[in-house]
């Protein structure tokens, strides 16, 4: 029987409980283009509750749950005054705490950490402007809003718009579209109600 000694050795290692050094799992395996991107965005509360998740790389449901659990553990346990970057499974997670909420973004090892850190802040400022001094409760009861806003800010794991004003304008336009549709609907239902009285 053909045998690969190296293979066997590594196998042995993992069986004996010594953590094997393994290459990080690559979510886009095998054809990841080598340009860098944000792989996912995660908002978790200090209690570990998820407030928003957005995945730009294809993670399965199981992987998503695992990622959240693992990262929650890593990030929530970090004390204050430490740096905003964490090595994680061959990637890097840039995070920042705002009051009770942690904003996290996962990027490639050699991406620009500070740039992403300021994308987070940019996002928070936009939320703040929209909700008027935003707090966790705003994001709980209006989580769908947070998704709309994020979609105007990031797309395909890249920054889409760096002007707060433009994002605010686009979100306001969406809101008014929804508002108009609602009014139309209610006026129609009024008419129907009137007619069927």
């Amino acid at each position: 029987m053909r045998h690969n000694p190296e293979e066997a050795q590594r196998h042995q290692k993992s069986e004996s409980g010594i953590p094997a050094f393994e290459a990080p799992e690559n979510p886009d395996f095998p054809f990841r283009l080598l340009s860098r991107m944000i792989h996912f965005v995660l908002l978790i509360s200090r209690q570990g509750k998820v407030r928003l998740t957005k995945w730009y790389s294809p993670y399965s449901q199981k992987e998503r749950t695992k990622v959240i659990r693992e990262l929650g553990g890593v990030i929530l346990s970090r004390g204050p005054k430490l740096c905003n970057f964490v090595d994680w499974r061959g990637f890097k997670v840039v995070y920042k705490r705002y009051a009770s909420l942690y904003f996290c973004m996962c990027i490639d090892q050699d991406d620009n950490e500070l740039e992403v850190l300021e994308i987070i802040h940019h996002f928070v400022e936009i939320l703040d402007r929209y909700f008027g001094s935003v707090c966790e409760l705003d994001l709980i009861f209006n989580f769908h809003k947070a998704y709309y806003i994020l979609d105007e800010l990031l797309l395909a794991g890249e920054l889409q718009e760096s002007s707060k004003k433009t994002v605010a304008r686009l979100i306001a336009a969406q809101d008014s579209l929804v508002e108009t549709a609602k009014e139309q609907a209610s006026s129609i239902s009024n008419i129907i109600a009137q007619a069927t009285k």
Binding site: T53, Q160, S162, S176, A181, K182
Partner: protein, 1018 residues
């Protein structure tokens, strides 16, 4: 602000929040899920508002971490709602719940396309956003032209165009073919003239991706990037809303500099000068300010500028400026800047001239090793590891040792491994190396893998002058009260071998050494006891004149363990006892261990495996190659004890010492005994002679992993036989000595076999390059694309790919670029035409240079016979009429095949199906038989029907009779042989014949590193 909230949703969220505990929450959620499920079932009664509400509730529940396994269809169906509010919800919830591989997405493609090509701008935006976030290959293929049109359209507003740019980027990532290389270069350049900074930012991201894959085409973008950067850096004509804390879009600046890093050089002197002026400005003009955000943003730009300067290989003066800046950063208190300073300094190690300047900061870096932040400590560790050389190894390793006691558990293994490697690579003297390893074991025994102590044993064995020192040293450690088990192992081994060298020192009489060791026995596990027993036997042998008291003591221990339940211990006890009683024979058999053949440290190899594709790690590897181990690896090579012949300095395999030896091997220690034992009957019944000594000593001197000794008997003699073991290595023959420093990641043969069954995957990977392959097969045509990905931040040069096609294939490889830029992936299409049936294989002869390494591999291409098959289901009548008309040889061949890998019939049918030979159930009335059919495509003849019948014997699954029929005798024969190979072989152990085009394996002695490498590659 209008909140147009949904009352039902808010109430639900409040109720969840009011739950007292997890159990309550779960009950409430289960109730809601039941409710939603019911409502979705009677969809008729649902108003659009309700549907929206329930879909949001689902997303909320999903976010809380509960499984939501229904309702995906409802979310997707909202996409086709006519009104904006529903459509919006449909798009956004779908893109949150599903990923690109979800089947439901396919159902939405048409709706999405209609929204994209429709006139409604808001619908366009929604559709582009979803596709940009979760679009997969199918979306790429069907939507790319429409998305491109939007991006280039002059009538579209910026809000649509910026989304189109990023959407296209996503689709390009999924399938690079969608962007026509020739046509796009000019368009991309035009996009860079865009005035709207939102569109420009998105377009720049697109350029980064395009250029990373194929920079050559996008040369015309380069001067434009420099212009944009200049404009931003000088803050000319940048609208207020695009400045961030006073900095003109830092993100666009970073992106632009990122794009520039994908072009190998800048040739035009004017452009180069302008760029360097801008960079100089950024390097010198970035001050630390109070405002955190401003500071972060300006430093984001600064660090990207640093990366670009490194990439452009600027003049020395500018490089020194960079190092000086980094030196400043690693000393600041602000943790982010310090972290990045350390990280970038590690990257800087790639630049050759600056190492000496970096060394000046050593003390500062060591401070960071004690930082409270583990992220910073890691960076400091990486940097210290990378900058270590002979001049500073002592200091650095001692710092690492000191830090080890306080390091958190997550880092200890890495830390001790790195310390061990540095100690080995750069040791100024051997005794220091022994000190370091013993300290490591003492301080972090739990984290010391076996490799580390195997290695120290190897060095001690091979260096006579080291032996008394090591023996004295381990004795000191044993004198301590608490001793780690690994220390017991290494001490027992060393004292067993060399304690007699200390005999004249106080406290080192055989008796004292024995009792020192024996004290530890009650505290150790069963894996250590055998080593102790060996040590006792050796001590006894060295006690001259014999000490009766010691002898009876040790014999009684052997006696005691003769009935031990652990087979390994029992075996040794029985054998040693018998050996001891043979008197003089003991001397020969228990003589000092022979020298180990020199080889590359398995530790260093391990880090090479473990290191991913990050920049700083490649810096380490690069240095690992630049500075070949000088201190320890090249020791003098005496022929050892006349037992083993001198062996050339090898590269691979690892040291192995007694603890891991399996029973089978141990039995060969003494023939009469093993026969009594019954464990081994095939031992050559000759009395042991001097020549056989090495065999007798075999069990104790086994090299190579334990697995190998179990599975392959002759491997027990020497683990170095890996090379001769690899019959299939012929396909991959390293070109010259230099190649053996680069090792493939993963098993090449396994990768090849996987690719025989599927059409995309990785063909080859090593620390520098990944070669992916993607293939499409149509009839006798095949279109393969090779994806050559450079994993490093330095370019791969002298890239060459030559196809060695067998006679039956016409293969045409498009031009392969000579250079693969840093972190870029290039694609090389390959056209294959099948002329006639044959099992021969095409070979890709691939080589590149990285640093001083020339790497050459020969890889089989998965253009195998089965790729030119198309499964076909033949109706019964036709099958039988064909079968009858193809009456006998050479068109119909029959063979009884033995040695089949036993498998149930359905599995065999699946196997055939996976090779595109379609099982036709029900045609053969005998349930033990299998009938299958397929068609074969070649250029020379029309499609050929092939019929297969396999008759199995339920009583003996290892044999079967196969009959194969087709209209072409060659095809019949080749296909029969092909199927036979598949049935006999195990997928992981390649049996397929080596391609004729490959060079025959040169006659290399089995110990030659190249042969070993070939063995590993196969």
């Amino acid at each position: 602000m209008s909140m147009h909230g949904m009352r039902g949703l808010s109430v639900f969220i409040s109720e969840i929040r009011n739950c007292q505990n997890k159990e309550q929450e779960r009950l409430r959620i289960d109730k809601e899920l039941g409710n939603v499920r019911n409502r979705f079932k009677n969809e008729k009664g649902l108003t659009p508002y309700e549907k929206k509400k329930y879909v949001w509730k689902m997303l909320y529940i999903y976010m809380l971490g509960y499984d939501v396994d229904f309702g995906h269809m409802e979310a997707v169906s909202l996409i086709s709602a006519p009104k904006y509010p529903e459509k919006q919800v449909g798009y956004i919830v779908t893109s949150c719940l599903l990923n690109e591989n979800h089947d439901f997405l396919r159902l939405a493609i048409n709706t999405v396309r209609n929204d994209i090509i429709g006139r409604n701008e808001t619908f366009q935006c929604l559709a582009l956003t979803m596709v940009g976030n979760i679009g997969g290959r199918e979306f790429a293929e069907s939507l790319a032209p429409d998305v491109q049109k939007l991006l280039l359209s002059s009538s579209c507003r910026p809000l649509v165009r910026k989304k189109a740019a990023l959407c296209l980027l996503r689709l390009y990532r999924k399938n690079p073919d969608i962007v026509n290389v020739d046509g796009w270069a000019d368009r991309m350049a035009q996009l860079l003239d865009e005035r709207d900074l939102g569109v420009l930012t998105s377009s720049m991201s697109l350029l980064v991706a395009l250029a990373s894959n194929n920079h050559e085409v996008y040369w015309s973008c380069l001067p434009k990037c420099v212009k944009i950067l200049e404009r931003l850096a000088r803050n000319q004509d940048v609208p207020q809303e695009y400045t961030y804390y006073g900095i003109p879009s830092p993100w666009l600046q970073v992106k632009t500099m990122r794009a520039l890093q994908y072009f190998p050089t800048i040739e035009d002197p004017n452009t180069r000068r302008t760029l360097f002026e801008v960079l100089q400005r950024i390097l010198m003009g970035t001050d630390v300010v109070k405002n955190v955000n401003k500071n972060n943003a300006s430093h984001a730009v600064l660090f990207e500028a640093l990366a670009l300067v490194m990439h452009l290989d600027a003049e020395k003066e500018m490089m020194s400026q960079c190092v000086a800046l980094l030196g400043k950063f690693i000393a600041v208190r602000e943790p982010n800047i310090r972290y990045l300073g350390l990280e970038n300094m590690t990257r800087m190690l790639m630049v050759t001239d600056v190492q000496e300047i970096i060394k000046r900061h050593q003390a500062q870096i060591i401070t960071s090793l004690k930082d409270p932040d583990v992220s910073i400590r890691r960076r400091a560790l990486d940097l210290l590891y990378g900058m270590c050389d002979v001049t500073n190894a002592k200091d650095i390793v001692e710092e690492l040792l000191q830090y080890l006691s306080s390091a958190d558990f997550t880092m200890r293994e890495e830390l001790s491994l790195k310390a061990a490697i540095l100690a080995e690579k750069f040791a100024p003297d051997l005794s220091w190396y022994v000190d370091v390893i013993l300290q490591l074991i003492d301080k972090a025994g739990d984290f010391i893998s076996d490799d580390i102590w195997f290695r120290v044993v190897q060095f001690v064995t091979n260096n006579d002058d080291l032996q008394p020192y090591a023996a004295a040293k381990v004795k000191e450690y044993l004198d301590k009260s608490a001793v780690h088990e690994t220390m017991v192992k290494v001490s027992a081994y060393i004292l067993g071998e060399y304690s007699h060298l200390l005999a004249r020192r106080p406290g080192c009489s055989p008796k004292e050494i024995f009792s020192l060791l024996h004290e530890k026995l009650p505290t150790v596990s069963t894996t250590t006891i055998p080593i102790l027993l060996s040590a006792y036997a050796k001590i006894l042998m060295h006690t001259q004149p014999p000490d009766q008291e010691l002898q009876s003591q040790i014999w009684s221990i052997f006696n005691k363990y003769e009935s031990c339940i652990d087979a390994e211990i029992q075996q040794r006890a029985v054998e040693y006892l018998a050996l001891c009683q043979r008197g003089a024979a003991l001397m020969d058999i228990l003589a000092e261990m022979p020298k180990f053949p020199e080889r590359k440290s398995s530790l260093i190899k391990r880090t090479e495996y473990s290191e991913g594709d990050t920049a700083e790690q490649s810096a380490i590897k690069l240095r690992a190659q630049q500075q070949t181990s000088n201190a320890l690896v090249v020791t003098d090579q005496h022929p050892a004890n006349g037992a083993t012949s001198p062996v050339p300095v090898g590269q691979l395999s690892l040291v192995k010492v007694p603890s891991m030896i399996t029973t089978e091997n141990d039995t060969s220690t003494d023939h009469p005994l093993s026969q009594q034992n019954g464990a081994l009957s095939n031992v050559d019944p000759q009395p042991p002679s001097a020549d056989l000594l090495s065999d007798i000593l075999g069990p104790l001197a086994i090299e190579g992993p334990p697995g190998a000794t179990v599975q392959s008997e002759h491997n027990a003699v020497s683990g170095l036989e890996g090379g001769s073991d690899a019959a299939d290595g012929s396909a991959i023959v390293p070109v010259d000595e230099q190649t053996n420093t680069v090792q493939p990641i993963g098993n090449i043969a396994e990768r090849f076999h996987a690719l025989c069954l599927k059409d995309s995957g990785v063909l080859y990977e090593d620390p520098y390059i990944q070669i992916g392959i993607k293939a499409e097969w149509r009839g006798h045509h095949g279109r393969l694309v090779l994806f050559l990905g450079n994993k490093n931040t330095a370019p791969l040069v002298s890239v060459q790919a030559i196809i060695l096609p067998p006679a039956h294939l016409k293969v045409e490889l498009s031009l392969v670029p000579d250079t693969i830029p840093p972190r870029a992936q290039v694609q090389c299409p390959l056209e294959v035409v099948n002329l006639r049936p044959s099992r021969d294989m095409a070979v890709l002869d691939f080589s590149y240079k990285f640093g001083t390494n020339m790497v050459n591999v020969k890889l089989r291409l998965p253009a195998t016979l089965n790729k030119f098959l198309q499964p076909i289901q033949v109706p019964a009548e036709e099958f039988f009429s064909q079968w009858r008309s193809l009456s006998g040889p050479p068109l119909k061949l029959q063979e009884v095949i033995r040695g089949i890998r036993p498998m149930p019939l359905p599995e065999m049918a699946n196997l055939l199906n996976s090779f595109r030979i379609m099982n036709c159930p029900g045609l053969d009335p005998n349930p033990n038989n299998l009938v299958a059919s397929t068609t074969f495509y070649s250029e020379s003849r029309p499609a050929m029907l092939c019929l297969v019948r396999i008759e199995t014997d339920p009583a003996d699954r290892t044999q079967l009779r196969m009959t194969l029929a087709s209209g072409d005798p060659t095809l019949t024969f080749e296909l029969k042989e092909f199927i036979k190979e598949q049935l006999i072989s195990i997928p992981t152990a390649p049996r397929s014949p080596a391609p004729p085009a490959a060079q025959p394996t040169p006659q290399i002695p089995p110990n030659d590193p190249a042969a070993i490498l070939a063995g590993l590659l196969s």
